[in-house]
């Protein structure tokens, strides 16, 4: 609201008190200031629309000062709240005791100091109301301060003032002091009557603890619903884990065996690629010349670039990968596209019955010099 730093009520009252002692007015002046407030508050009770039911003890500083404003006779009082809001920009400097201050930004401390000043100046109880335009601007500020104060500062301003009025301690008090004073006149301590002892029927039945026997074992697992629940959950999870473990070892494996027979060497004509084992076993059986020697070998149907399955193109006499266009000669050597190395060979041998047997468990890579291994081809 105000650009000026907001002061809490506590600070305001503290500064007010300080001003008291500085001014040398002492407790009398403070008391007089406190007296002024209720007196001013009584005035609107008869004269204006201020809350008449409000007892002086429960009124806040804002209320009190608003009442003081309302008590001012004549039309000025009526227009002053509105004027107070507007006149924030143009202060009525002539009438002000604190000329540098903007009326809209006046603190409660200054207001109370002003009130006190009037009192000690010899004015009587109605004087604050009569002291023309000066307070007229203030209440607006007081209202604003009061609206802002509850959020930040302590809320017991009224009690502080009430305490001051009751002459417990002359002058404003700090929050700590107010707390110290309060118990004396505040509400009486609540005395709690002693509880009657429990009747017999309300006492829990005694559990016979003598039966420390075999049932105690079961009680660990089924002693309560919680234990039973956890036991059940543990059992289910355990069974589920076992089932999962079993899932890893299926009864039937649909993948073909890694060793299989493909027929007699005579079944494979020279310079042909047998593609009928590709779909099931992922193998081409090739009868071709490699480095001057005619041989039968088994090529793996996986492209060495990124693992797609190439196709054997009979017309072009090459394996061609559909993914990135790698090409391999009939002997598996890469010659086009991005494939960095030749196709891989599987182990092949002539079994006891004369058939060719391919073993997919062993692989032979050309770039590692493994194709010279006699396990990876059958000479024809």
């Amino acid at each position: 609201m105000a650009a000026k730093k907001k002061m809490s009520v506590e600070e305001i009252l503290a500064s007010c008190r300080k001003a008291d002692s500085d001014g040398g007015a002492g407790p009398e002046a403070a008391e007089a200031a406190a007296d002024t407030a209720p007196a001013a508050a009584e005035k609107p009770q008869s004269a204006s629309k201020q809350p008449s039911s409000a007892s002086p003890g429960s009124m806040s500083v804002a209320d009190i000062l608003a009442a003081a404003r309302a008590g001012k006779p004549g039309g000025e009082a009526a227009e002053s709240p509105a004027a107070g809001g507007d006149s924030g920009a143009e202060p009525p400097a002539a009438a002000k005791p604190a000329p540098a201050k903007n009326p809209g930004q006046m603190s409660v401390a200054e207001m109370l100091a002003a009130a006190r000043g009037e009192k000690s100046g010899g004015t009587e109880k109605a004087a604050p109301a009569k002291s023309a335009p000066k307070p007229a601007a203030k209440p607006a500020a007081a209202k604003k301060e009061a609206a802002a104060a509850p959020g930040s500062g302590p809320r017991d301003t009224s009690s502080i003032l009430a305490a001051a009025r009751k002459s417990v301690k002359p002058g404003p008090v700090s929050k700590a002091e107010a707390a110290a004073i309060k118990p004396a006149g505040a509400k009486p301590a609540v005395v709690v009557p002693p509880m009657p002892s429990k009747p017999d029927y309300a006492k829990p039945a005694k559990v016979a603890e003598t039966e420390e026997n075999r049932r105690g074992f079961l009680a660990v697992f089924f002693g309560s619903f919680l234990a039973a629940g956890f036991t059940l959950m543990g059992t289910v999870f355990g069974l589920w884990g076992l089932g999962l473990a079993k899932f890893m070892f299926p009864n039937v494996r649909t993948e073909p065996p890694s060793k299989f027979k493909v027929g007699f060497p005579a079944d494979f004509a020279p310079d042909t690629v047998e593609t009928k084992f590709k779909a099931q076993f992922g193998v081409w059986i090739v009868n071709a010349e490699y480095e001057g020697a005619r041989m039968i070998y088994a090529l793996r149907t996986v492209c060495t670039h990124l693992g797609c399955t190439p196709n054997w193109l009979e017309g072009e006499q090459k394996f061609k990968c559909p993914c990135h266009g790698s090409g391999f000669y009939i002997d598996g050597i890469n010659f086009e596209g991005p494939a960095p190395r030749p196709l891989e060979r599987f182990a092949i041998r002539v079994a006891d019955d004369g058939q060719l047997e391919v073993d997919k468990g062993k692989m032979f890579q050309e770039e590692m010099g493994q194709w010279s291994d006699p396990a990876c081809y059958v000479p024809v």
Binding site: K278, A279, Q280, G282, T301, H305, L306, C308, T309, P310, N311, L313, G315, E316, K320, C321, P322, C323, H324, G325, G327, F335, E336, G337, P338, P340, R341, E367, M368
Partner: protein, 445 residues
């Protein structure tokens, strides 16, 4: 799938007729807008005439008769020319790059709404004319590819929009005015302004998705098999740029290193960028380097590769012209050679250095390094010598403003980015397979 030309035309006539009617409607709406909102009667008349032309064409297409449709087909000579001379990845990439350069250089002309509208009409007309070709139609109307065609036009629109605003701003700023975005400082509320727009977008998007799902059947294929790869086998459209990259690189490079560098490079841009201009408004002149590098990376090395992979790569990943039949037995004579073979066998005339039989792993490795030394030196020189050269010549100002570390990061990212076109050109021109080829350790570059 083998249908005669007459049957094909019969089948596509309904679509083509509606297509031309839609083009007519589009131009009629443009004419209405220009006439009523912009008050340019002459221009409105032009668009109206264009609309009428399209409307006149559409019955020809609706007829479905070859003798009528031949008037609205791409001429045979042009189709043959494109298939014969344009249908290589080299020509395709060069042409797209050159057209991007031309568009960039004369952007002040091309972004004019009238010119842009004419270009859109021309593109749509070329597509319509080409649709009368069965091979072109087979690719473009494939359910997989229809959204990609739509996205090409969408991308064109957004590129035009951004360039248009940038050109406007540049022209204003050349006159000392502030950018257009600075004039419009009005703030709008999230609720309802933004949330309503989002809700409308959601509704429209849902409607489009439903219509799309009804209109274009999902291309279901046979059950997957580990030993059967469809031919051609294509990645999802957004990965086709990567798949094209894989043609030129080892999977390790094109699948892991370069994509990671793309991601990290994009993340590094805010830290490398020292040009404070262009914040909050469209501009090209104030950010020429950033703009051109990004557009080359995005439009040339990502989008055109996606288009290439989608429409122009056929069986066995061969390059096919847009009007060419996808023949699985098309022979492309290719014999890719490694740099080491170029150097040792063809250059010096000796055999490739090879470790003697029974040599230890260390000796073998030394022989491998010796064999690949030309490539290793070349790559090392490229990545280590080029940055200082760049700092001393063309990027002198950059080096001064960026400092050593930032400049090194920037220049190396730039060089890695340049690796792709370099390798592509080397493959196309001298059939270079790998600069460094160490298959023994799965290290190829």
């Amino acid at each position: 799938m083998h249908v005669s030309q007459a049957e094909f035309l019969e089948g596509i006539s309904g679509f083509l007729g509606s297509y031309y009617l839609a083009l007519g409607a589009m131009n009629a709406i443009a004419a209405l807008y220009v006439w009523s909102s912009l008050k340019k009667n002459g221009l409105a008349l032009c668009w109206l005439i264009l609309a009428l032309l399209f409307v006149i064409i559409s019955p020809l297409a609706y007829s479905g008769r070859p003798e009528l449709i031949q008037f609205i087909s791409m001429p045979e000579s042009i189709r043959n020319f494109v298939d014969q001379y344009m249908a290589t990845a080299f020509v395709y990439s060069t042409v797209t790059l050159l057209s991007l350069v031309v568009l960039y250089q004369f952007r002040e002309f091309f972004v004019k709404p009238v010119v842009a509208w004419l270009m859109l009409n021309a593109a749509l007309l070329v597509m319509g004319l080409s649709m009368a070709d069965s091979d072109f139609a087979a690719i473009v109307t494939k359910p997989d590819n229809v959204p990609i065609v739509a996205m090409v036009f969408l991308l064109g629109y957004f590129t035009w929009l951004a360039t248009y605003k940038a050109v406007q701003n540049d022209q204003r700023m050349a006159q000392g005015l502030e950018p257009l975005e600075a004039l419009d400082q009005e703030k709008v509320l999230v609720w309802p302004d933004l949330v309503y727009i989002e809700m409308i977008c959601m509704v429209v998007l849902t409607a489009v998705l439903i219509l799309w799902a009804i209109g274009l059947k999902a291309p279901l294929e046979e059950a997957a098999s580990g030993v059967k790869t469809p031919n051609p086998s294509k990645a999802p459209w957004y990965f086709l740029g990567l798949q094209e990259m894989l043609v030129y690189f080892d999977p390790w490079m094109a699948g892991v290193v370069l994509p990671s560098l793309v991601v990290f490079g994009l993340m590094a841009i805010p830290y490398l960028d020292f040009n404070k201009a262009g914040n909050g408004y469209y501009t090209i002149n104030q950010r020429k380097f950033a703009y051109s590098i990004f557009q080359i990376g995005f439009l040339e090395m990502w989008v055109t590769l996606i288009i290439l992979g989608t429409f122009l790569r056929g069986p066995n990943w061969n390059f096919f012209g847009p009007y060419e039949f996808w023949d699985a037995h098309k022979v492309e004579a290719l014999n890719n050679v490694n740099l080491s073979e170029y150097f040792w066998v063809r250059g010096i005339g000796t055999a490739l250095p090879k470790a003697p039989e029974g040599a230890g792993a260390g000796t073998t490795l030394l022989y491998i390094v010796w064999r690949e030394l030309p490539g290793i030196l070349l790559v090392f020189g490229y990545l280590a010598v080029m940055p200082p050269l760049m700092a001393m010549t063309v990027f002198r100002k950059f080096f001064v403003r960026m400092g050593f570390i930032r400049f090194m990061v920037m220049s190396n990212l730039l060089l890695m980015m340049g690796l792709l076109p370099l390798k592509m050109v080397l493959r196309w021109t001298i059939n270079l397979k790998y600069i460094i080829n160490i298959p023994e350790y799965f290290l190829n570059l």
